[in-house]
Structures are given as C-alpha cells and as structure tokens.
Symmetry: C2
Subunit: 719 residues, 2 copies
Amino acid sequence: MTRLRTVACLLPLAALTLAQSPTPQVFGYRDFAQQAKLDKAFMAVPDPALAGQHLKTLTAAPHWASSPEDYATAVYVADKFKAAGLETEIVPFKVLLTKPVKIVIEAFDATGNKLMSGPTPEHVDPNKFGGDPFQDDPRILPAFNGSSPSGDVTAEVVYANYGTLADFQQLAKLGISIKGKIVLVRYGENFRGIKTYIAQQYGAIGVLIYSDPADDGYFRGDMYPKGPYRPETGVQRGSVQFLPIYPGDPTTPGIASTPDLPDSKRIPADKLQNNQPSIPTNPLSYHDAAPILKALGGAESPREWQGALPFTYHLGAGGNHTEANKVTVHMHLDEDIALRTIWDVIGTINGTDDSQKDNWVVAGNHRDAWVYGAVDPNSGTAAMLETVHGLGQLLKQGWKPKRTIVIGSWDAEEEGLIGSTEWAEQHEKILAHAVAYFNTDVGVAGPNFDAAAVPSLKQFVREVTKEVPSPKGGTVYDQWKADQNAPSPTRKRNRSSESTDSDVRIGTLGSGSDYTPFIQHLGVPSTDIGSEGPYGVYHSVFDNYNWFTKFADPTFVYEQQQARVFGLEILHMADADVLPYDYQLYGKEIVGYLEAAQKLATTKGLSLDFTSALAAANRFATAATAIRAVQSAPPANPTGLNEALRNAEEALLNPDGLPKRPWYKHTIYAPGEFTGYAAVVIPGVNEGIDAPDAPRAQAQLAALTAALNRSAAILEAAK
Amino acid sequence: MTRLRTVACLLPLAALTLAQSPTPQVFGYRDFAQQAKLDKAFMAVPDPALAGQHLKTLTAAPHWASSPEDYATAVYVADKFKAAGLETEIVPFKVLLTKPVKIVIEAFDATGNKLMSGPTPEHVDPNKFGGDPFQDDPRILPAFNGSSPSGDVTAEVVYANYGTLADFQQLAKLGISIKGKIVLVRYGENFRGIKTYIAQQYGAIGVLIYSDPADDGYFRGDMYPKGPYRPETGVQRGSVQFLPIYPGDPTTPGIASTPDLPDSKRIPADKLQNNQPSIPTNPLSYHDAAPILKALGGAESPREWQGALPFTYHLGAGGNHTEANKVTVHMHLDEDIALRTIWDVIGTINGTDDSQKDNWVVAGNHRDAWVYGAVDPNSGTAAMLETVHGLGQLLKQGWKPKRTIVIGSWDAEEEGLIGSTEWAEQHEKILAHAVAYFNTDVGVAGPNFDAAAVPSLKQFVREVTKEVPSPKGGTVYDQWKADQNAPSPTRKRNRSSESTDSDVRIGTLGSGSDYTPFIQHLGVPSTDIGSEGPYGVYHSVFDNYNWFTKFADPTFVYEQQQARVFGLEILHMADADVLPYDYQLYGKEIVGYLEAAQKLATTKGLSLDFTSALAAANRFATAATAIRAVQSAPPANPTGLNEALRNAEEALLNPDGLPKRPWYKHTIYAPGEFTGYAAVVIPGVNEGIDAPDAPRAQAQLAALTAALNRSAAILEAAK
C-alpha cells in the first residue's frame, strides 16, 4: 500500500492561482491533483532577480577548477544549499589537471619571415559597443587545451578542416601525409579531443584548433560586444582528453580519486596514453589562425572545407606545394600537469518512504569554468540554486520527498567530467538504485528550450515542460515545439534529433557533460536540459556576466524557467507512485537502431546474423508494452514494480564494457569513439560495423542480445 | 520514295578509322551507315590549333557591339565562312545601344566621410602569377550595365541580397521600404535586369549590383590570375534590359531594325518603359561594394543573405538604424544612348532536296563581347568556325545537304539578344518552316559538357554526343553522364534539370541567349550546348585569351569537341530522313507540368479547372506515341510526315502571346517574368497561379488547351 500523501494540505495554497482546467493526469501518478498543487507551490519560488544575483556572484572572477576562486564558488553554493535546509558537504577529490605556464605559437614563411606571433590575448575594443569590463583580469589563464602535454615542436602545417575521421581520411586519399606535421583544424563537428586523437594516430606532432568565423563568428551574426558571436581574438578553450575512452581523473578510471587515495592505485603519468594525448594541442582565435591559413600553399582545400575568412583555403600540401611556399609553425607549450584538489558540493534531502528512500534522485550541474563561465556552466548553477531555493521553501512548509534527493555541484567538468565521475565512482553501489540523474550544464544561453534524454524519460520531460509557463507565452512545451523548426545555429552539445515518435523531438545523450558517468557507466536513466540561443563566446573570456545580460537573458526570466523545469523533474521523480519510465518508446527505438545497423552492415558487405538480437529487441519491446499497461494501473504496493523498472535499465549495461573502452558499459548509448559529443547508438555493434570488423560486431550483437534478454526478463517478471 | 543518298561515296574514306562495332541505328534515319561515314569525315576536320588561332584573333581587342573592333571580327568570320564555301553576307541592323560616357559611384557615412570612390578599374597585380596582359587596354569601356538610363541620384542604401522577388518581399515583410533608396544587390539567382525590374516597382531610385566572393570569388576557389575565380576588382557587366518582356532592339519589338527602317516605325525613346529600366543601375566589384556593405547599420540581414565578405551583413535599415549610421551613395551615370549599327554574319549552304530545302537548319553563336569575351562568346565562335571548316571540307568533297543550312554570327547579344532577334524577326516567314535552331554561347569554359533543349530534341542531342570522342576518354555522352553528379559551381545560364526520363539530364530553355527568338517567338525547336567549368570572370576584363588558355582549355581540345558536337547537330538535322523529334517525351513532360501546376493551384487555394487542359495534354501525348511509331517506320515519302512534325511545334505558339508580354508566344516555355534566365514551364498558367490571378490562369489554361489540341490534331493527321 502506498503512503498517503497528505503533505499538500500544509501548503499556503491561497497564494497560488489554481488552474482553471481540470488537473491533467500525469504518467506515474495515481492521482496528480496533489502533486499539481505542490508543483505550483514550488514554481512560485524561483526568482529571476535572485538568479541574477547568484550568477553575478559566481562569475565575478575567473574560477578555473582547483583555483581559490573556484573554492569560493563552492562555499557560496554550499551556503545556499544549507540555507535551503539541505544536508550539505563540500567533497574534495585529488585529480590530475593541466595548467598552462607559458604558451608560444608562432608561424614563419619559407624565408623565415614571421607571419604571426601569439597567442594574442582575448580583447575587444573598450570604446565600441560598451567594450568588455571583464577582459583585463590578470587571473585569466592563457587560452589552452586541458590535457595537452607540454611540447616544443616546429613543423610544416597542414589544414584538415574539422579534423573528423572523414577529413583525415580525405587527406590520405589526396595523397597528403600529416606525419611529422602540425595540423591546423577548426572547431566544430566533433569533440575537440577527437581531433587530437585522430591526428596523433595519423602521425601529426602537434595540433592547433581555431574558431572559424563561419562556425561561430561574423558569418553567423554580429560579433561581441555588438552581437553575441565570437570576436576576432576570441578563443575556445577546452579539454582534449580522450573522453570516449573514459572520462574523469585520467589516473583513476573506475575508482574515486579521494584525497587519501594512495599513488599506487593511480595510473602513473607515463602510462596515461589511453586517455591523454601524446602530442601538444592548443586553441587559437581566428585572428591568430588567419595569417597561417592565408599563407598556406599547396592544393586548394576541398570546397566544403572553406570557412568564412576572406581568402581561398589551401591544404599546405599537395598540388603545387614546394619548399618556397611552406609555412612553419613553432608551438611551445609549457604545461604544469599535477594532482590538484577540486571540490564538489553535495546537498541531500532525505526520502521518507522506507522502501524507496535509497532510490536516489540525483540532479547536478558543474560549477567550474574555463574563465568566467556565465553561460557555461553558471547559468545552470544560478538556476539550480533557485531550484534548491524552491525545494527549501517546500521543506519549510513541511514537505518531505518519498525518495532521497541529491543535488551535486560538480567541479572540473571542463577538464573531463571529473567531479561528477569521481563522485559517481565513489557511490557506484548506491547509484545502482538511483532512479534518475537530471543534468544541466548550459542552463541558459538564450530563449530556446532543448533537451536530451534516454527514451524512457522523453515523455517525462515533455510532461514537466507542459506545466511551466514560458516568458514567450504559453508553456515551455508549446514554445519548444514551435521553436523546433528554427534550431540554434551553434550548439555546445550535439543533441541529435530522434524522430521515432511524432511529438517534440528530444535528443540522444552522447557526451560532453556530467550525465555520462550516470547513464553510460552506471545505467541511471538521465536527462539533460537547457535553453539555447545564438552563443558564439563558448569557452572564451567573453562568456561573462556582461555578455549574458546583453544577449542571453537580461531579465533572468529564462533562468527562472530553467529553475522551474529542473525542479519539477526532481519533484516528480522523487514523489511519483510508479517510476514514469516509458519503456515502450525505448523498445521501439532499439528495434529501429538494430534495423538501421542491419542495413548499414549490408551496405558495407558485412555478413552478420541479426536474428537473435532482433528477437531480443522485439521481446524487450513486447515486455515494455505489457509493463506500460501495468504502470497505468499499478498494484497497491508498487515497490516490486518500481524495482523492476529501475533494474531494467541497469540490465542494459554490459559488465565488460565496450571494446577498447571498458569504462563505457551501456549497450545502447555511448559517445562515439570518433565523435565524442554525439552519441553512437548500440555502440558496440555500430562501431564494429564501421571499422569494419565483422567478428567484433557479431560479438557485440551477442552482448547486446544478452542485455536485452536480461532486461526483458526483468520487465516480464514485474507485476 | 526517298532520295538515294550517294554522296558518301565521294568522300576520301581511307583517312578515317572505321568503327569496329556495327553502326548504331539513329532515330530519324532509315539506315544510319552512310551518315555515320559522313560524320566521321566531318569529325576529322575541326582542329584544336586552328580553333586557338580563331580565338586569339577574335579576342585580340575589346570588341563591344557596334565598335570598329566588333566590325573587324565580323569581317574575320565572314572571310572564314566564304573560305569554307558558304554564301556569306554581313547583315547590318540599326539598334538602340547604351554606351557609358562617365560613371561615378561614391559612398559616404553619416558624417560625410567618403567610404569609397569608384568604380575602381579592373586590375590585378602584374607581378603575381603572371599578371594579366590585357587589363590595361585603353579601349576597355568602364564597367556598366547595358540599358541603364543616365542618372544622378543620391540616397541611403539598403542591401537586398540577390534582388529576387522573394528577397524584396522579405524586406517588405520586415517593414523595410526601399522607396527612394539605392538598392545594393549581389549577382546571382536571377537575370540582372530582373533585379532592377523589381527594385523599380518597389520604388528604388538606383541599383548597384556587385559580385560577392561567395558566388564567384575566393569562396569558390583561387582568384585570377592564380585561379579561375573573380579577383577583387573584377566586375560583371551586363544588360539590365527587361528581357522577359521582349528581347532585341528595344525600339522595334516584333519587327526588324533594318538600317532603312523609318523612325516612325520605332518606339520613341521616352516610351520604352516596358523594356528599359527607368532607374540607373551599375555593376560593382566586391572591392568597391565591401566598404558600403561593411558600413551598413540597421538590422542584421537574414542569415542566408550573408555572403563571404569578412563581416556581418546588415540591411542598412530596420533594427537600430538611425541617422547616425546611415550610408549614402551617390551614383552619377552618364550614358550615351543612341541608334548604332551592328553586324550579323550569315552563311548559307543551300539544300538540294526540293521538298525540304526551305526547311532551314539554323545554327548560331554571338560574336560581340563586353570586353574580350574569350569564353563568352568567342569560345563558341572559334568552335563554330571549325564546324564551318568541317562543313566546308564536306562541300569540297561533293556533299550537299538535303535541307538548307544557315549559320549566324550574331551581334549585340549582350545588349539583349539583339542581332539574333532582329534577324529572326526579319525572316519570320521562312523561319516558320525552320526545323531547328542550334545555339552555342559559352562554347567552352571548361571540360564539362552540358546542354538544354526542347524535349523533342533531348534524345537527338544525346545521340549526337554518343558519336563524339571526349578528350577525357570515351564519348562526350559518357563523360557528360559521369560529370552530372559534380556540376559546375558557377553557371552562366540556368539550365534547370528535368528528370522526366532517367537518361542524362538536359536542361530547359529559359533565356539569356540567342535561342530565345527562335523557340519562344517563332516555335523553332532549339538546343543550346556548351562545355562548362569553374568560370569566375564572366563579363569582366579578365574573360580573355590569357584566362582561357590558363583555365578553360589550354590545348583547345574542348574547342574541337564543341565544333564536332555542334557540327553533328547540323549535319544530322540537315540530312535526316524523318525529323528526329521525340514528341513522346514532350507529351510526358507537358502532362507533368500540368499536374504540378494543378498541385500548386491547390496549395494556393485557387479554384481552377484543369480538365480540358489535361485532356488536351493527354491527347497530345497519345498522338505523340503514335507518331513516334510512324517515325520509326516512315512512309516511302516522308514529306508530309516531316511537315506535320514541324508544324506540331509551331502549333504550340499562342498568337496572342503571354499576358503583359505578347512577344513571347510559346505556351510551354518562356523565361520567367521574375527569373529571366530560368524557364517557367507552361508560363501563362504558372504565372497566373503565382500572381495569384485565377481568371488569368484559367484563360491561359484555355489558350494552352487550344494549342495542345491544335498540335495533337496535326500529329493525329500525319502519316
């Protein structure tokens, strides 16, 4: 028998406008009416002005992970958690971080004339369009790529477009070798670490990654401070860790880097090649990259490699390339690579239902930033603090959740999802029972709500957004649906669209944010939400409070919206009678993935047997349809049902993990080995086909079949 | 009984390599074997080196229509015609031409600072990549737009993308008026005269048309003289006549501008508004346009309006536009608009079959150029002279064609198809019996063969190209097919692709070259052929012999190919037993056009009755299928059959012409009122629907129905 939820009568409901229309029924609730009242009480709390204050405080100084300023933000967040009534602790980890000491990038033509000498500090004209009040802070680190080794290399340059696998393959097809060369690539299309991952496999000795104005500069729109796009000297920092192999502290895959962890348990610095690049990599602005690119001779680049700089892009090799037109780059990176302390902040609201309280609802956002991080990540942090503010008000009014709620403010996400991964590895055992992980990273970059989720939570996210009003009128859901035909031109994360169902599209979870350890390592059903817009200053000095209040959300109403949606996700998952997982859609999508993979295998001429896998997927889909009916008319005591629902996702993990990257255990979703951000579905199978490696693909089909059968059996047994 | 063709035995066949495979049967011939031998004898003649000499001579000086240098090219062509044994005359016409006296374009910011002062002469660095040996000739006219009136206007500037109807409509939708403004548009998408045609309807007082590097400059590839694309100062000249209303001498629509035509038969200068713009228009290089465009304030342009210049394009209005950021342009155009003499060269080979000789086979190419015109048009002229060379050799060997062959070297095409139109209007009566007009304009801009044709001649063109070897190996047809998936990025003429049949795609005849008076005014079945490539110097000083031999065809082998294909078109049409028209495909395409129009009408909510038109189209298609069988097994005397075949095309003319533009009489094809180059199919109907104007569309459906029934009746009666 389920606990009678009488808590709502303790709320001061007079202050709320009750919905005129009858309360809709929401999946997971026997009767949604009480929850609807609670939701309204919650939604009244998150405050735009307070969110603005949080943001201003959090982004007052550069707060790179492990810095004193980073610690100050941890204390601020912990104070807010405590004030709201959460059990709060600051949890330190000791992790390997790269900090730049000195960066020199210079280029020369064949006669030794200097073409450029950099990197040029990020700077805009202080006398135009209000300038930028944050750009001159001496605490700003030079623009660098986390996880790059130190290095001092001099070599000719080859341009390789976005540095995707296809780009490097095309160079090889054109007879151009990058062996011993420095590769100049532009940001976009894949995770930057993948650019280095492939370049070093092809023999490059250094990588420069620049921001082409075609991708986030003047070609997209006016540049900061006139508009929201990346200015001439703007640089995108970022980690080049080999994220698709494993995230987190490079020295401790699978275990937590607690401060007391003995060195003997860590991988030594010279054995980190699975996760850390062996060649130096550094980012550049287009101001610094243009003189190099312009001077390159050799063959014209393939025309689709042309960016928006005002000259024809050449490869620096092939065609009429001679000694006389060679361009040489000297990269000298001096990086201080050391174990440093980072600080997660963890706040807990204990659940009250004995049968459910160990089934945690986890929600989180990272706090560390490359520089100021107004959008990435502190727009998410500010909103999360207002979510916590709302939860605190409910607590004060006597509410207690059925399931335990854990809120994480992660550190060192930028270096490779480190704070979240270490914490998740530390709590692996109890997280095996966690019912959801709700992530937000870029909480607000503009007015367009977007989400990615496991299929079982897509309907859940849609339902939540139907409750929250949009500043544009109607609900977040209404606007989300309306906006979908005008997607944001620049997105941090690739939330590739799925169209298995005809409702508003929700992306697939790849990687690039903190949901990865939860869903892909531990099998915790996850979502990732945020509100997007034209955001060209990603990972630069200019992602600061001035930019945010000019271009993202001047009145913080999208901050409020974000706090509300995030909060309702937490509240619904904490209190639902029956876990609102939609395995029916999940089953449908998996069958679709397998059919697509079968076609791909045929196209590639691979002889693979999909019979058992398809049978298992159909069995899973059938069981999912049956359990969906049970969820809609649940038994008096749903404990067993909920346990089965939760275990069905965990059963999709393969304990052996993926080939070459055992840390990734989920059989349905992983970041692609050659994409990083973007998900590869049924990754073992599809990457085996792509290789192409028929025996590997067949073995992965077997592992997938086993997982699907395990999961189906759990659903079949549930009542 | 058909005439026994014994002429082939007079040929010196020993010199020819006979095909190893059996002679294919070709549509139109009872037995193709004799023709195949003649074709081979012909194909042995066109000579790359001679074509190169023709080109060098023809393009030695700027030879703008009516200039002494233009006359010298007429004499050269006439001499070659005569040498080949053609009856030759130089035919003068007296036509209205615009010649620039003085052009001033300058721009100022709000404080009166000069942003640019032009136009800048076209010039490249003489010390880089060999420079350009032709650019400093004092006879080069300043870059101008033919048919622009004189004017002295000063106004604010609005950017309007390509100046299509959709672009101007979008500005209006954004609340931006161009009334009293100077509009800055870029070349591309439509015929340039249409940009002015629409701009003046919207109230603009001047138009500047510039070449954006996105469209034919560095974004496409290396700029001249390093590569084939338009350099910084390169300008596209060109006529802004309202070509879709009528082409030819503006003062004499429908009649020939013979030198003795009294002025009383001409439209006076102040009554030419149907065909001549009332607002000044001038072209610009991006060197001159960039400072204007860069200075524009106001709203950001729609993002698809962004070109490849290195800043964000703004509209110059809307958004935060104020007096303080206004950009003012002063255009002062002093044009000398006067009747001038031009010279067509006409060469004739009389036909010998009494029943057929009045059924002319006409072939032509224009000779006048904006400056040197190495590609446009003299690559076509050089090839045509080698075609004539080949025909001359056949004549010397005793061959005589069944039908009369007329070769035209047209003048003043660039000003509005004037030489061809006046000549066609002069010979309207006998051209009513002409069996074909074969056009070439840009004969060779590169190695990729392409063609446009009426549907009845698509198969004919394909068959001809199957006989001609390609310099790339195989036949022209083979390479054409292979190339179709890699189309040339810049095309002068829009040869929009049709996909009614699955064979190699052949475009639809719109306008922009000399086939227009033949097919669209007189109903002579036409084709247009040429060989394309990366050609960024269209209508500039740099379209010269230096560019041509560096980038288009250094060894003139594509000139030879072009001469051969053009020649075989003429030979086959002159000697075919049965006219090789494929009305079956024509019928299929017309039915398709009607079905598409019906859908469009439904989408637009127009209530139109298509019943009779569809019935007529199906009747035409049925008759076409029947006649195709007769053509394959023709009667002993095919005279009547041939007459019917010829008359069936002419029957598709509507004597009343199109609404607003009665000169255009073809019911199936016309240049679009708002496209110019690109064809609109069943134009009366489709433009009625587009307007939308249901009564007009219904009336045009009736006219089309009548034409189709007339044509079907002719085919049905043929035996």
